[in-house]
Each structure stands twice: as structure tokens, then as C-alpha cells.
């Protein structure tokens, strides 16, 4: 297993206000990292930093060769505007391949084949020609996952992927991610849902104001932090 990502005393800030401070951890290929923490603890900012879209205000981020070439399968939080967007499922999934193109972007045969492979893998054949705006929430999320996988098979970065999905659909989505992880995909997921996190994840990063916790899922479960986060003890998730 090779090292994918190392953060060393990294700090992120907006207008000098520190959002994430002094964060160090590292991740290997095949890991499943769950990032949890209160609202405003900088989870989304950290994801943007890992994607290279936000420069750290301090510290260093070392990325493996693959990550430097924008080869990350990113599944952003769904924005409401997307819900009535006129685009076919295929148009969306193909756009995952744009990280291999420059200013002039024509899809080639291998792009279409890569999209076809992911469509088969996620059993989206029936939806391929449908419009995104006609799909259910769970179907939409599967399509956006397919786009992420078309961008990069090796690493998936997800920002609260089950937000707004009903329990059955969320469960199904987690199962899918677990399968992908078992077959070698590295997963980084921001989530509020601690149960699935602790069942599936290999590592946990708990972002707090002031100090952070990073360790394996098993270590985390026996730590004091969990007691304050489990439903019944901590804040209910929104």
C-alpha cells in the first residue's frame, strides 16, 4: 500500500479567521476515512484543500502523483439549482472525463468507453438517456457518484453524500461505497451519520474547534469523543 496523502500541521483560513488549524494526518491507498465534526468545524474547507481548490494558510500537503493531476473523484454537496437542470445522465457522467482534457475539449472513444464501464458498474443503463431533473434524489446521487468514478477510480471524495436521502436509499448508497472500498477504492467521506461511519470506515478524523482527533475507527470507538457525538448524548443531526 502506498501513501496517498500527507498533511503536516495544515491550517486553513478565510480572511485571517482560522477555520481548520494545525491538522496533521496521512492516508494510504485503500483507506476509508470518515471526516466528522460539528457544523462550521471546517469539513468542507478541508475537502476543498485536499482537492487543491483552497491553499492552506500554513503547513504542507503532500499528494501522490495521481492526485496532482486532478485525478480525484469528487462528489460535492448537491446544490438545489441542480434539481431542475436539463442534462441527460450520460452528459453528466461523461463530464467526469474533462480532467483529462484542456481548453479544447472533445470526448474521445476512450472517454465514452470509461463512462460506459461506470454506467454498467452502477447499473445505470436504464437511466442513461433520462434527464437529470426527472430522477429521484437517490438516483441523482448515484449519477453524481458515477461522474466522480469516471473522473478517477482510485479515490472518491464525498461531501455528505446521503444528506436529504431517505434511510433506505442512504443504506443502499453506503453499501455501494463499501463495495467500492473493498475493491480497492480509497474513500474520504464527510458525514454526519456516525453509525455508518464507524461501521464502514477504517479511519476517523474528528474535526473540533481547537484540537482534532485522527485514528483508526476502532480506536475512535473506544475514545471519549464518541460518547459526546452519539445520538442521545450529543446534538441531533439536522
Amino acid at each position: 500500500m502506498s501513501r496517498l496523502l500527507t498533511l503536516d500541521q495544515v491550517t486553513f483560513a478565510y480572511d485571517r479567521r482560522q477555520v481548520v488549524s494545525d491538522l496533521s494526518f496521512s492516508l494510504d491507498e485503500g483507506d476509508y476515512l470518515a471526516i466528522i465534526g460539528e457544523n462550521g468545524s471546517g469539513k468542507t474547507t478541508l475537502l476543498l484543500g485536499l482537492l487543491g481548490l483552497k491553499e492552506p494558510a500554513g503547513g504542507t500537503i503532500r499528494r501522490s502523483e495521481a492526485l496532482r493531476a486532478h485525478r480525484i473523484g469528487y462528489l460535492p454537496q448537491q446544490v438545489p439549482e441542480q434539481r431542475d437542470f436539463p442534462a441527460t445522465v450520460r452528459e453528466i457522467i461523461l463530464s467526469g472525463r474533462l480532467n483529462r482534457h484542456g481548453l479544447v475539449a472533445f470526448y474521445k472513444k476512450e472517454d465514452r468507453q470509461a463512462a460506459d464501464a461506470v454506467i454498467r458498474k452502477l447499473s445505470l443503463e436504464d437511466l442513461e438517456k433520462r434527464s437529470f431533473r426527472e430522477l429521484s434524489g437517490g438516483q441523482r446521487q448515484r449519477v453524481l457518484l458515477a461522474r466522480a468514478m469516471t473522473a478517477a477510480e482510485g479515490l472518491l471524495l464525498m461531501d455528505e453524500p446521503v444528506a436529504g436521502l431517505d434511510p433506505i436509499v442512504s443504506h443502499e448508497f453506503y453499501r455501494l461505497i463499501r463495495q467500492l472500498n473493498k475493491s480497492g477504492t480509497t474513500v474520504i467521506m464527510v458525514s454526519h451519520d456516525i453509525h455508518c461511519v464507524t461501521r464502514d470506515a477504517t479511519h476517523v478524523l474528528h474535526l473540533g474547534y481547537g484540537h482534532h482527533y485522527f485514528g483508526t475507527a476502532a480506536e475512535y470507538m473506544s475514545s471519549d469523543l464518541v460518547a459526546s457525538y452519539l445520538p442521545g448524548h450529543g446534538r441531533k443531526k439536522p
Binding site: 480525484i72 441527460t88 463530464s95 438517456k129
Partner: protein
């Protein structure tokens, strides 16, 4: 009918209006697809009011209208993009603010210089007499740039329109693209404004994509239908306004509105007749 057409084409200004206007309508509908879907549609409206103010200043200084208004409108476009990006001032409120101030300044400048006269009327509601030779040249250049953009970078444009964050993570420089779209939209608005009128030009940006979205569920379909319907509506509206001796801007807007209603009706009938197979993109 034939004599109507020979009459029409015997006036070179009408021919210029037809060619220049069609090109502007085409650019507006293509850029509009992206602007409407990214919720920047109101920027088009705001910019047209800024263009009105800028044009009034140009008239008062007896300067070239294009040379004065294009830089001012571009600056306003970047300002509005920045404001809607930063989230500090609510974008819609910011646009409304800028719109009314520019409009007010424009009217004051006109009153101080030439007085309220037919110039103001044609500024507000457009005139087909206004397409000059230099306007036409600029319209040709603009449509070439827009065409190049859509032919070679259509897929990038789709990615940014659909999901800017994902596009940025794919290495597409979204800031650059948004800036480019703002520049092109500015030129389109300044060019189209004198023909359509300051308060009506934004309809060329907003109507065609909205109409197209009734008919098609794919981005490619919406882009094509939008361009085609914009072109057909513009030409129809221009001939109608000439034949009925009405101002061109309002007639073109009404034709666009009719097209929207027609497409909405078609989509309603389609839904009624069952889910059926969807139209191919």
C-alpha cells in the same frame, strides 16, 4: 409578399438590422443558456440598465457609443460577478441597486444635455434604425468568438454550468470562464440594446433558454433549441414590426413570449399523454 420583401431589402439599414440583429440574438441565446442555468440571468438585466447609463454619457460627450459603453458595462459585469460570488451583498439586491442607479444617472445626463426627446424613447424601446456599420462589424466578431467557444469548449462550458465546484476540481478554471462569459454578455447587451431597447434586451438572454427548457431535457438539446428559437423569433419579430410599423424591440419580445407559451403547451400535452419515451437529445 414579394414586394414587401423587395421593399425590405432595398433599405440597407434594414438588411444590417436583420444580419446584425440575428447574430446578436444568436449570441444572446447561447450565452443565456449558461447564464439562466447558473442563476445569473438577472445579471443580463442589470447590465442592460448600466448600458443605458453609459450610452447616455456617451451621447452627452458626443463620443462613440460602443467605445464608452462596452468598458463600463464590462466593469459592471465583473463587479456583479464578484458580488454574487462573495455572498456579502445579496446578489439580486445588488443588481437592483446598480440597475436603478445607472438608469437614474442616465436619465439625468440626458435631461441635462439633449433634453427628453426621441433619443430617450429609442434608447428605452429600441429602434431598427440604430444598427450602424461598426455595430455590424462588432456583431460579426462577437458571434465568431461565441461560435468558437461553443464548438471547441462546449463540454467545459457544460461542466461549469452544471456544477462549478466539480468543474474546478477537474482542473477547469471556472473564474476565467465566468469572466469570459461576463465579457461576451456585456458586448452582446451593448450591441443589442439600441435595437431592442434598454429595458427589453435582457429578454433575448432569458426567453430562448427558458422556452427551450420546456422542450428538451438534455443540455445539448436546450442549447440547440434555444439558438434556433431565438433566431426564428428575432427574424419573425423584425419582419412583423416592419410590416405593422411598430417598434422592433417590443414586437420581438412578444414573439418570444408567444414561443415560450407554445413550448410550454407542447410540454404539457406531452406530459398528459403519458410518460412515454423521452425526446432524444
Amino acid at each position: 409578399m414579394m414586394s414587401f420583401l423587395t421593399d425590405f431589402f432595398s433599405f440597407s439599414f434594414l438588411l444590417r438590422a436583420l444580419i446584425g440583429g440575428s447574430l446578436v440574438a444568436l449570441c444572446a441565446s447561447l450565452l443565456g443558456t449558461s447564464l439562466v442555468l447558473t442563476r445569473y440571468a438577472m445579471i443580463g438585466d442589470g447590465l442592460s440598465h448600466v448600458a443605458f447609463g453609459a450610452l447616455a454619457v456617451a451621447m452627452a460627450l458626443s463620443a462613440s457609443p460602443l467605445a464608452v459603453s462596452i468598458p463600463i458595462v464590462m466593469a459592471a459585469a465583473f463587479l456583479l460577478l464578484r458580488m454574487s460570488g462573495s455572498g456579502r451583498v445579496r446578489a439580486d439586491a445588488a443588481i437592483a441597486m446598480l440597475s436603478s442607479v445607472s438608469m437614474a444617472a442616465g436619465i439625468v445626463v440626458i435631461s441635462l444635455s439633449t433634453g427628453m426627446n426621441t433619443d430617450l424613447y429609442s434608447f428605452m424601446f429600441g429602434s431598427i434604425l440604430s444598427m450602424t456599420r461598426s455595430d455590424l462589424t462588432l456583431a460579426v466578431i462577437l458571434s465568431l468568438v461565441v461560435a468558437l467557444l461553443f464548438v471547441f469548449s462546449y463540454n467545459n462550458l457544460f461542466a461549469i454550468t452544471f456544477d462549478e465546484n466539480f468543474a474546478r476540481a477537474s482542473g477547469i478554471r471556472a473564474g476565467l470562464w465566468n469572466g469570459l462569459l461576463a465579457i461576451l454578455a456585456s458586448v452582446t447587451i451593448v450591441l443589442g440594446m439600441r435595437m431592442m431597447g434598454a429595458i427589453l434586451i435582457s429578454s433575448l438572454i432569458i426567453f430562448p433558454p427558458l422556452s427551450a427548457m420546456r422542450l428538451s431535457g438534455s443540455f445539448k438539446g436546450v442549447t440547440l433549441v434555444s439558438a434556433l428559437s431565438s433566431l426564428v423569433c428575432f427574424v419573425t419579430g423584425l419582419f412583423l414590426s416592419y410590416g405593422l410599423d411598430l417598434p422592433s424591440g417590443p414586437v420581438i419580445v412578444l414573439v418570444n413570449a408567444f414561443c415560450f407559451l407554445l413550448f410550454a403547451l407542447i410540454s404539457l400535452i406531452r406530459k398528459r399523454s403519458g410518460p412515454g419515451p423521452l425526446p432524444k437529445p
